[in-house]
Each structure stands twice: as C-alpha cells, then as structure tokens.
Symmetry: none
DNA sequence: AATGAATGAGTTTTCATTCAT
DNA sequence: CATGAATGAAAACTCATTCAT
C-alpha cells in the first residue's frame, strides 16, 4: 500500500524538516523537542519513535548533508577531472594541473564556474543545515570537525572517496599548507558562511535575494579565477 | 581599600573569563551557570550579584568586543585615512580612493598590511568571544546582526562612529553592493572564521600555531592587495 | 487447525515466559512491555491482544504458581494425611499428630522428606515466579499477602481447600501462634528465599548447583525432623 | 549557628525518611520522586540538590544500614568473642568453638541471646530499609549481592572487618558449606524476612506486635541453641 | 493473529534564578 | 561580598496502552 507508506514517510519527514528549521533558527541547544512536535503536528513521543534522541535528529541531518555534498563533488570530479585525465587532456603534478590546450582549460574553466554555481545554489537551498553544521562545528562536541570534514570532501585528498579517485590516477597530487589555508578560509568557508547568513544579509542589505546571490557568485568566481594561469591551474 | 577592590575585581573578571570560555566552547545555550560558578570557584549566587542574568554576561562580552574592535578600527582610520585626507594625499570619491603619489599608496599599503596583521592577531587573541559572536549571529535572537554590525564597524559606513569620521570629510564615499559582498564574505568573514576555527585547524592540520597564522596572513594579504591598482584603491 | 493453534499457543507462552524472566530479573515495575515484546520477538500490540494489561500478565503468573502449589500440597495431604486418618493410623488433636505405631510415623517421616524434596525442587524450578511473588509481597499492593496465602495453602488451616480437607475430618486441629511463626519464618520462608536467591548463591558461593541444593535440603530436613518426637508430631 | 544547621539537616533527613518509606512501601522502581518531594514538603529540585539521583538516595539508605549493622556485629565480636579468646576462655578451631568451662559457655550463650535480641530489634526498627534491601537483592542490579554482603558481615569470614578480627587471632577458623547454607537460610535470612514482613504478619495474624516479636524471638533462639552442644559450639 | 504508527500522561532530571543570612 | 538552601518552570525522554489496517 504505497499510499499508506507515503503518509507515514510524510510524518517522519515533516518531523525532520521542522527539526531542521528549529535547529537552524535557535541552535540545537535552544531548540525544544516539545516545540518541534507541536510545530510538526505530532505527538512528542512519536519523535522518539523515529529517532533515538534529539541528538540523533541532528546527526541524521548532518549526515544527509554530507551525503548530498559528497555526491555533488564526486559527480564533478568524475565528469570533468577524471574524464580529462583519462583522455590525456589533463595532467596533475603535485599542486599544478596542466591542461593540454587553451581550449581544454577554457572548457574546464567553464565547468568550474558551473560547478561553483551548483555548490553555491546547493548551499543556499540547504542553508538550514549549513547553519546547523557551522554552529555545531564551533562547539567542542562530536561534530567539531564537521566543517573540516565537509571541506575535505570537496577539496582535500585523504579519506575522501573523491580524492581517492584522483589519487588513484595521479600519485603526485598534493597541496602546500598555504594553499590549503587559502582554499579553506577564502574558498569554501565563505560559501557556507554566505549560505548561513544569506537571509540576514538580504534583510539587512535591502537587496533582493537574487541580487545578493549574483553578487556573491561573481565575487566567488573572482576567487576561483585566481587559480587559472595560462594553461595551468596552480592550487 | 584598593586591595579589597582588586580582589573583588579579580573575582568578577574570573567569572567573566570562565563564562567566556564556557560560552565559546559549548555555545551560550549549552553553557551552565552552575558549571561556570564551580569553574570560577565562586558561589552561583555571586554571579547574580555581578550580573543581572546569564544573558547579561553574554551581552557584556559582546559589547566589550565591539568596543575593542571599534577602537582598533578608529585608530587606523584616524592615523592613516583621516590624516592623509587632511594632508591632501588621499581623495575618496565613491568607491575609489585616489592617492596623490606612488609613495603615498605604498605607505598606505604598508599601513594596511600592518593593520591587517593587527586585526588578525586581535581576532586570534579574542577568538573566544569571536566564536561566541558567530554563534549568536547564527541564531534568530537579539545578536543575530552582531557580525554585520562588527563588520560594518570595520568596513562600512552608516551607524559607525568610524565611517562617520570619513563621511564627514567626504560625502561621495560609497560602495557598490558587490564590493560590499566581497568584503563581507571574502574579507573580514574569513578573518573571524579563521579565529573561530583556529584551534581546531591547528589540531587537525598538524601544523604549529604560527605556521597556521602566517599562512593565513599571507592568504589574507593576497586578498587585500587585490584592491590596490596603480595609485588607486578600488573597493 | 491444530497446527495454527499450536503456533499461536507457542506465541502466547513465549510472551509469558519472557515476561516471567523480565519480571523476575528487574521486578514488575522496572520491567518494560517494550522489551518483553522485543525479547519475545512479537509486536508490542500483540501482548495486548493476549493480555488486558501488563498487570494481567503478572496476575496470570502468580495464579499459575498458586494453582501448582495447591495441587502439590493437596496431593500430599490426600495421599498421606487423609489416607492415614481414614485408616485410623493417625489422629490429629490440636497441634499434636499422634501416629498409631512406630512404623506409621516412620513411613510418614519418609513421605515428609519426599514431600520436602518435591517442594524444594518445585520452588527451584519455578524460582522465577517465586522471586516475583516475593517482590510483590513486599509491596503494598494487591499481592502483598501473596506469600502468606501461599504459605497458608501449604501449612495453615482456614481458606485453604487443603486444610478444609483435614479440618472436615478433625475439628480439633489447631496451632499455637508460636508454632505458626516458626513454620512461617523457619519453614517455608527459607524455602522460597532459597529458591529466589539460588542463582546468586550458587554464583557467589562457587559451589555447583547440586551441591547447593543438597546442602539446603539437608538443612531443611534438619528443621523438619525437629517436629518428630517418638510417635508424635508436635507442631 | 547550630540552629540553622539543624533546620537544614532536618530538611535533608526528612527527604531521606520519606524516601525510605516510599521505597519500602512501593519498591524503588514504583516510588516517585514527585511524591517523595510532596510528602517531604520540599521542592522536587531540592532533592537533586542533596542527592545526585533517585538511585543515590537508595544507595545512601543501603550504605547506612550496612554501617549500622557492621557496628552492631563488630561490637558483639569485640566484647564477647575477642575478649574470651584473649582471656583464654575460648578456643576456635575450624568450625568448633571450644569453651574452657560450663560457666563460660553459659555466659556466652546468654550473650548470644542478648545479641540475637539486639539484631532482631534492630532489624525490626529498620524494617523499612530491610525491605528495600531484600527487594533490591532480588533484582539483577548493583545491589543484587546486598543481602549476601550483609550476612557475610554478620556471620562469615573474608572481607569483613569483623571476621578479620577473629581471623587474626585464630587462623583455623572456618565453616563447612552446609553450615553456611544453614546459617544463611535458616539463621539470618529469617530475621530479615521477619522484619520485612512484620507489619503484614501482625495484621494478618491478628496478634499484637509484641506477641509476634516474642514468638519470633523464641523461635529464633531455638535455632541458635541448636549450635550449643556441651561445652562447644559447632557451626 | 499480527503489526507499525501514534498518543496521553507521566518520569527523572535540569536550570536559571532568588532568598535568607 | 559571599554563600547554602530553595524554587518554578521547563527539559528530554519514557511507557503502558490504543488505533488502523
């Protein structure tokens, strides 16, 4: 009976989405299970039927974000990086990515801009959880490395299924510490912070959502383009 | 009885510093007045002798940061910007700062780097409160604009005693929205986030504190120098 | 459909036996219907299909023990006491049981020892419920007299189908209060407590189960034999 | 200000005594902190000011009983056993205690009866906690060996400060397993159970409290006297 | 006969805050 | 200034029980 299943699933996902909103607006610690239940229109005990604890909801939300971001990044790497390496149009040597031709780097640049846009838009549409992750990463708790793990997933090597993909093809791949710092604090950190503070920024700037989004996008692309030099990317 | 006064002051500031640590490590909501009292070695009720409420401690901490940063920025503006304007060596027109000579922009550039360093180091040594401010700015509460207000204080015009200083001298002073976005999310945001995540970054990167600091500083200066073009700064 | 019936019965008795274990290990109040269901491998709601409430399971278990013990005691009385009275080999007068001959009391003594053994072994193999009964008899609830009722059933007169049997034959039958106290606290109480604490005793003594059982049996028989004096039993 | 102290102490001990009553009447698990607070006329939170948890109250009660019983037993051993050994009037060899004269064993017998009475009366006046201990010893929890530990304290050797006293004087001191079983289940077990079921017994027997107490005492002394044979005690 | 979902009424525990001294 | 005791309101979590299918 798929209909019944849907109703059920609907209940659980209503809980999840209300919890996400509450966590993201007040922070996990100030959010109240009571209020989440009331807002989701369910009995408080039902929340504990689906989740072991308030914290388990948090974990679930964060894990979901991880999974989604991982897919996003993996798709980009597979589609563009791996493909170009296999076709001999890209050669990675330590922190230098050398393209075979002007044309190749141009097409890769375009792909990067598109990916950039995807990441920013993804972050924006998931800004609830992004706020939560930033919040939790500031606390000395189990999620204190959440942001780093997320960023690793997008940009760094070890432990990430993503970079194992690149790694397996080119063992020379590596970064200087400073490059990592730059990418962390001036690359993806701004993206997450932008998403996290998007609503407040829109409100306090008086601009429209898309004006703000577009401004950010162009700023971000300015940063991205700093990596491109002639036929190379220097990370 | 200055001695007694000192002892007393010491007690109060011990409370403040313990509260700061707790707020910064767990977030305001998860911090416990009980534990702050125990950690500070004072009776819980004494905290309420010095502060009206738990929230009052938070407010005090945030206000202190505001004041300190305000001084820092004001000093820079007074010492360098105002001085140069008065000496006719700098002319601000909308988002373009025109310097009279190569030499002037060079000396201003140096001042900027020094200021940059001061701001980063200030943020680092106050990273406890910085974390707290980031925390609170993520919540829908009374401090939700704290970060924006702080950044305004450093970079923007209205409402800031700082820019009133500039403003009063040059009414043409203004920014494009995109420039503001860039400065927000790729300028000072990274600085605060760097400070906030400094300890975690040091730990997870395996580098020393000063290696991390220096790497960040150079990255940051790369961003700063993007504003300098010939004899002009284009914001 | 006997097969189905069996499966069903099996389900119900699995519930009963798991409930018995849980009640006996944690006490009724700390036992959880949830856990019983999980342990029995059935849905929680099914328990409520078979039993009106958690308490109904308890009542059922206790009632079952009552019935079993009642049979046990009744069988002994019928087989030995009533038979001997009818054959004129035993005459009960108040708290003195007079046997016709040495031989009669010897054979009765043997029967008593056998009965003793039966009771101890019965208690041991039902130690789960015995624990439960002790639990409940300690509480101010509906089962607070459970132990007394049980002991009455074995040893005392009124209200027990057992002693009505004797009573109907010999109206002089009675006990002194002290005799009752002795039988209560040094007769059957030890048996139930022995059963209830058997596992813990075995574990903490380091002896084997049968060593412990046999030690107890001999101790108990020492008590029983105290009643036998010449050709009489003085209760 | 001792007066203030007293008021305070009074509050805490009121909590303790109400908790004791509730635990003993309903069992620990069915007792409600809410009701204890209401009954003790204090705010529920105050209970948690004095005790870490509901369980901590239980632990405190049990520990107190242990300490009291320990003193009781130690006093007897010091006053009578140790004294007689030192005076050469008693010689312990394995499970046989040999007295020097008729007179010595007579005076020891008297002391035993007095001690017996003390223990029974102590148990009676602490029957609340005794019930609690019996209850908890039946559960598979942290206090499951409470009864054994208590009995060890009174009658057994190792680990007890008591028997270390005897032990240090006479290394031959020991028991047969069966003797231990007898003492456990027909010696002190009945005493605790008597105390635990005293009220119910009084009520259901229709006798007065002292009639019941005296009946039990005589019964118990019958058991005690079983150990005395001529000039020896055989345990 | 059996189940997954749902619930009302608790249950222990917590916590910011206040009071009396 | 400083404290131990006290509290009201709420917090997370639980649990026996029921409902719909």
């Amino acid at each position: 009976m798929p209909f019944v299943k849907d109703v059920t699933e609907e209940t659980k996902s209503r809980i999840i989405s209300v919890a996400k909103r509450h966590f993201s607006e007040k922070g996990f610690d100030a959010a109240r299970v009571d209020e989440i239940a009331k807002d989701a229109g369910v009995n408080k005990a039902l929340i504990y039927y689906y989740f072991e604890s308030k914290e388990a909801i948090l974990d679930h939300l964060i894990q979901k974000l991880f999974d989604d971001i991982s897919s996003l990044a993996l798709a980009f790497v597979e589609e563009h990086v791996v493909a170009m390496i296999e076709q001999g149009r890209l050669d990675i040597e330590s922190d230098r990515w050398r393209f075979a031709s002007e044309e190749d780097i141009q097409s890769f640049y375009k792909a990067c801009l598109q990916y950039t846009e995807k990441v920013v838009d993804f972050s924006l549409s998931n800004r609830g959880v992004v706020r939560i992750v930033i919040f939790e990463s500031l606390k000395h708790g189990k999620h204190k490395n959440a942001l780093f793990r997320l960023l690793d997933m997008l940009y760094n090597k070890n432990e990430s299924p993503l970079y194992r993909t690149i790694w397996s093809r080119d063992h020379d791949f590596d970064y200087t510490p400073e490059a990592v710092v730059f990418k962390f604090f001036f690359g993806f950190f701004p993206v997450f912070n932008f998403a996290a503070h998007f609503d407040a920024y829109v409100q306090s700037s008086g601009l429209t959502e898309s004006e703000v989004r577009d401004s950010f996008m162009r700023s971000y692309q300015k940063i991205v383009s700093m990596y491109f030099r002639g036929k190379e990317i220097v990370l």
